[in-house]
């Protein structure tokens, strides 16, 4: 196996006349979801055509044909293919993180939905709600006007005049 063959994504062909670059990816290394994810990111910048090379006597490969929507130089096409390779890695990592945290994500989502639906509040919170107060009661004196509160102080001996 040559150094180029051992790479996960290789540039198979660059066609500057058609502004097209073809990438080859080993099927075993990139799940199809990762390929779709990367293709989705590029679909507004380039024409993306996917193909599959079944491979006789060697592992199968996905072929990704990227064509610029505007004319592109060889450097730009190689840059585009490099960005696509980076996006593949990004999508693969993203997929791995989601898989690892799936239980946690599901739990948080379930709690959020239950909360929004007015479901399960903590039991001690509900128990403390009935404290025998009417809604007009003001045990902390919050509703007392400022003037009333400080009028008494004014009448006290030694208060400023």
């Amino acid at each position: 196996m040559t150094a180029q063959e051992s790479q996960a994504a290789t540039v198979e062909q660059v066609d500057t006349a058609q502004s097209r670059v073809t990438l080859a990816l080993e099927i075993g290394l990139y799940p199809i979801d990762v390929l779709y994810g990367a293709a989705y990111i590029f679909i507004d910048r380039a024409y993306v055509l996917l193909d599959k090379d079944e491979g006789v006597g060697r592992p199968g490969r996905y072929l990704v044909h990227l064509r610029g929507k505007n004319p592109m130089t060889k450097e730009q096409l190689l840059g585009l293919s490099g960005e696509f390779s980076n996006e593949l890695l990004s999508q693969a990592l993203r997929r791995k993180v989601v898989k690892q945290n799936q239980k946690l994500i599901e739990e948080i989502t379930t709690q959020a939905i239950a909360g929004a639906a007015g479901g399960s509040l903590p039991t001690d919170f509900l128990a403390n709600q009935d404290d025998g107060l009417d809604f007009l009661d003001d045990p902390l004196g919050i509703a007392v006007p400022w003037e009333e509160k400080f009028k008494k102080k004014k009448d006290e001996p030694g208060a400023a005049t």
Binding site: I32, Y40, Y47, V48, L49, L50, K52, E54
Partner: protein, 77 residues
């Protein structure tokens, strides 16, 4: 006036037939499409391409077919 026809091969493992049909419906005003099976691929014969259509109708059609496939696969999950 319409231009000559083209055939595009879309691998059956990567593109869904319904997604291709949906893309063909989207571009029906700009060309006519005939979908058939050819080995591991769907062969889409695109004819009567409107020469006055903006952009590359065939390439845009392929992008739409891919996008529709992704959408449909996501719904399945």
């Amino acid at each position: 006036m319409a231009t000559a026809s083209q055939t595009v091969l879309l691998h059956r493992a990567l593109y869904m037939q319904q997604a291709i049909k949906q893309a063909a419906e989207t571009f029906a005003d700009f060309a006519s499409f005939a979908i058939s099976r050819q080995g591991a691929h769907y062969a889409v014969a695109i004819a009567d391409i409107d020469p006055e259509a903006d952009g590359d109708v065939v390439a845009e059609f392929c992008n739409f077919a891919l996008y529709n496939t992704m959408q449909r696969k996501r719904k399945k999950i």
